[in-house]
Symmetry: C2
Amino acid sequence: MNKVITVSRAFGSGGRELGKRLAELLGIAYYDHEIISGIAQKSGLAEAYVNSVVDRKVAARYPITIGRTFSNAFDPQLELNLRIYTQQCDIIKELASRSDCLLIGRCSDHILRECRPFNMFVHADMDARVHRCREKEPAGENLSDAALKGRILETDRGRAQYYKFWTEREWGAKEHYALCVNTTHMEIRDLALPLSGLLKALLYNE
Amino acid sequence: MNKVITVSRAFGSGGRELGKRLAELLGIAYYDHEIISGIAQKSGLAEAYVNSVVDRKVAARYPITIGRTFSNAFDPQLELNLRIYTQQCDIIKELASRSDCLLIGRCSDHILRECRPFNMFVHADMDARVHRCREKEPAGENLSDAALKGRILETDRGRAQYYKFWTEREWGAKEHYALCVNTTHMEIRDLALPLSGLLKALLYNE
């Protein structure tokens, strides 16, 4: 079975950058936006639309199960969400079956649970996240700190709701992850190399 | 300022063993039961008594503050708890001022917050903890799995209540720690060496 690492990340924590650097250092495949592209390709939906659905609150008028049986009430939005999630599961399983890899978010820790992936959660306190977002802000955007904080909280809320809806688990609860890394006082570039050493030892006995 | 690592741990997660091995590998002082001995020595109370108080629910009939001012109602048990906690703060600060060190639990992450320690939380799922406790069980004890689980939950509850009472924070909430390590599928001896490498890089730039 391939070695699989999943990196879930609070918005602005540097989790994506850390994941990318780790995959490079470990010499394994890295999948982030590729998951969205794959779903778009398989489902025939536009990438921008898929991106607007995945990791965001599921707009269902009914809970997916009612009294432990599927609801018969037809909800076109939920049907579409379900179609996208099914494609997401297929793509993620397909990517993980190709070779050792690292995947960013999109419930990959839960979808791949039977492969026993090494699951990481990356987070940081709000000030550090605002600071990190500020550094990556496109020229001319100039959001206020309050607006940046609002965007961070809204993105996290969407991820948590999406994760909860499909997995019935709490996003970011430390119990689901082998390692939770708080990047508040760390530079991602300083963290990646020694952390890759830890992963090499634990996953590859190097 | 000395480099300080604190290791908080869920009962049966192997956190104490991990902390001891890390301190050895890093070549720094290790403080665990020494904290209890120090409090006993300073306070004149018996070690066994101090041990029965620290990391356990504080038996106060009143919250320590009422309407943001200290309660005037005299509670001898609370007075004794407060005396012990004050000694605990003194001892922990004194140990941290001596040299680089690693401390196990006893609110050291919070007590030393001004030194910016590297705080770790070690946890594992219940089955792994029962298994680990079973391996360390004194000959002849033969507790049932249910009894072991009860002891684990009770110990964790005591630690959480003690921590909450004195720090007003949630024990084990990942936000308070630089690293949360889930030892469920890991052997402590396999984890210690690569983890010490990560700490060397982050704390000592080695």
